[in-house]
Amino acid sequence: MTTTENPADAPVKEIGRDRRRKEDRRLITGRTQWTDNKALTGLLHIAMVRSPFAHATIKGIDTSAAKQLPGIVGVYTAADIGADQVQLPCAWPVTKDMRSPQRPALAGSRVNFAGEGVAVVVARSAAIAKDAAELVEVDYDELEPVLDMEEALKDGATLVHPELGTNSNAQWVFDSGEAGSGGNATEAISKAESDDDQIVVRRRFRQQRLVPVFMEPRSTVVDPTGEQLVMWSSTQVPHILKTMLALTLGLPEHKIRVIAPDVGGGFGGKIAVAPEEVVTLLVAQKLGKPVKWTETRSESLLTAHHGRDQIQDLTMSVTKDGTITGLDVKLLADMGAYLGLVGPGVPILGAFMFNAIYKIPSYRFDCTNVFTTKTLTDAYRGAGRPEATFGIERLMDEVALELGMEPMEFRKKNWIKHDEFPYTTVSTLTYDTGNYEAATDQAMQMFDYDGLRREQAERRRRGDVKQLGIGISTFTEMCGLAPSRVLGSLDYGAGGWETAAIRMLPTGKVEVVVGVSPHGQGHETAFSQIVADQLGVGFDDVEILHGDTQSSYRGLDTYGSRSLAVGGIAVVKAAEKVIEKAKPIAAHMLEASEGDLEFSAGKFSVKGTDKGVGIQDIALAVFAAHDYPEGIEPDIDAHATFDPENFSFPHGTHLCAVEVDTETGFVSMYKYVCVDDVGNVINPLIVEGQVHGGLAQGIAQALYEEAAYDDQGTLLSGTLVDYTLPSAADLISFDTANTTTASTTNPLGVKGVGEAGTIASTPAVVNSVLDAIRHLGVKDIDMPTTPYRVWSAIQKASGTSGRADEANVASPGAGLGSTARDMPEGGNL
């Protein structure tokens, strides 16, 4: 396929076109601006000295040997640069009584996870800094690590932060009976237990700990030599970072400029005010010289925030004919050693998603956040919604099994019908639009659901070594974060609006300044398409500016699939204001009254005549400003802020088939079909790409990835050898499609797409793995379903192997994730 041009005299609607991306040219030729590329005269480099212990007191630090190395500029402990006095921010105090430990930029007297920084080395080169970091002698007194969430909450447990008096960070409860949005779930389940016409199903699921693994390691450069201190950083959140640096360090906000240049992926992992960003800044300030920090991959896996990590105890009551009567959710969520920027709120987002697409009359959600001596957890693609979706979609299969119902039929019986929208759920959200039947029908057809079921039956009958499994996930999610008032009601520390500004340049070209901050999403292309349609200018006449707080001074950045559904709408609103401002000038130029004008395809025309003037000509006219109406300013630039009234609710039906080798436990992807409803689509190519990448990450959680710790709190999967990202050879081509119900809560009718694939896919895959071997007696397998775990589960179910006793075939519920034992031999592939 080739890119087609859009001549100005033949306007084609840009929205909906599969435009090739504007961003690509630089990226495919290596003309990139990653933070680590930054070279400044006199640039110094830092390396962090990190704790090898999960929990220890620091008795002393000897920097003398390191300081002797030629090329060393300085070696600093926390106290030397005030890093121990810093309180890195958490912007989401989920409850009034949430317990927050101080999170320093460098540890002062105690370390609370393996990898925590204790000193920093500054040198002429990164290599010298790394050499010197190894010469810093730190004397530690080891303390007991805190690794298991359930143990951590028991009386007498070792405390991560003794000053808090507990390892519980917060408990957050939603009860639909109390909220008035439904009945009392505890009562409903209790009643069901004594009702012969109902059953109650209880399951414990484990959400393993993951690492986002953006491909570009984090990097920060701070230049303190100008009037404004400039920080380049590989971040998703330049605006939040700037404000938080001001608040955290007491710096005047107008003296800070943050730039997110090219950013190589984030997936939530770069929503942070990282200790290393602060340390780089403190060192640069101390020395008055530009300073760079770039992490190694191993440092990244060890210290950049992790995601997920929950124990889920789920209870569902249901009538024997398959109608859900109650759902009770109890979560333990591992915060790790400290609270990240939004970490405590991540599992709480799940509160609104466990009820998913189903009509559940009574619902209770109770989440306890727990401190452990591990790397902190925070947002990772989906943030709270994948965990919830996994829990409910696994549970739907389990309940269907108990009922003897076909799993899709059980879902159909309970989901919200297309004619019931808008629908206010038991967790108080109002889903504006959706059509679960349509997405499911299309997916079932594309998948050949019945045909694969026949193939599965045939393989079972033959007793094939490779058994086929089919898994379903019918999901929805809440994204487009978020209505500011809703965030306020959840005690979030900021709003959820987004800003855009449009600058009409004298030559008719258009600069659009946005507050969202892309790192692979294709904003420059999609927003150019929106502006081209709104203003009737050429796609190539539009430039999207982002990621520099000097040009984009107002924004809340990119996460939660918000860039289009919130940021894109701000662009629309700004364009509308441009047209409004241009109208009196057009009327003046055309010697007509404003009421006689209409705007279409970039041109104001006098109705019923062939007189008209283009908006790009008006831009030149106001630049010259020789002749414009009295009482208005000669300027058609505009700025708009959009605060959504609701989340957006993409949904879809995902169907997965896997082959499980019953002799080796090896799982191979066989077929994957998803039909997603993401509302109106601006660029189908970008939407498809987002779905593909999302699927890969969700599938990887099901089959491959886990941040595993040993019993001393040492990260075992601390390199890309051990943390097994899928390669091209591990995955297959996915069949993706869209159904569309336009969102009614924004003028473009769009919904978010960035996280949908990740949220939906994990339970579909695990359901399919279990479906392949359930007939052998296997009931559950923890994620990731590695060959060793699958093989062990089969062995245990058939009672043929002593070794199987060691395997983790039922959910362990232990904070260790039970991975330490089987990792060495259970690695993927």
Partner: protein
């Protein structure tokens, strides 16, 4: 320090380097060839893939001194007279990149693959690029791009893109 002489993207460079300096560090830090990037420290990710005497290598796993006397081609040397290499063009046409961080290595590896196998099946593409990790695309469009490029390149045409004019730049980037 060791003296090395290399040709990188058609220019000849002479430099003194530390014996332990990696080729990727030499490219980035000494020559300013920042189009080639570092994604890991265990040679798993392939983001730093370049061609060394016509073969793809992970430049984090080659010492700069090992490139002495050799020709290195990076992502920055693929364009010819403003024309993208067919694999670059195919990556653009098929939306085979999102954040773009893995892209230089992925393109260099794909060119090498097509040199060996001008008409790979989907399976052969997937096996051929399995040493290069991408976190954004799920690989599907990368596979499409490689097959699209294959269909547009004459068999065996890939390595010809690597010939180029040479100039000597002593101490370049030092």
């Amino acid at each position: 320090m060791a003296r090395i002489r290399t040709t990188v993207d058609g220019l000849v460079y002479e430099d003194d380097v530390e014996p332990r300096m990696l080729l990727v560090q030499y490219l980035r830090e000494r020559l300013g060839k920042t189009g080639t990037v570092i994604g890991c420290d265990t040679s798993n990710c392939g983001a730093c893939t370049v061609h060394l005497d016509g073969m793809s290598v992970k430049s984090c796993s080659v010492l700069a001194v090992q490139a002495n006397g050799a020709e290195v081609l990076t992502i920055e040397g693929l364009e010819r007279d403003g024309q993208l290499h067919p694999v670059q063009q195919a990556f653009h046409d098929n939306h085979a990149l999102q954040c773009g961080y893995c892209t230089p290595g992925m393109i260099m590896q794909s060119i090498d693959l097509l040199g060996d196998n001008p008409d790979p099946t989907e399976h052969e593409v997937r096996e051929g690029i399995e040493g290069n990790l991408c976190r954004c695309t799920g690989y599907q469009n990368i596979v499409r791009a490689v097959q699209d490029a294959a269909s547009k390149m004459k068999p065996g045409a890939a390595p010809t893109a690597e010939a180029g004019a040479k100039q000597t730049v002593a101490g370049g980037g030092a």
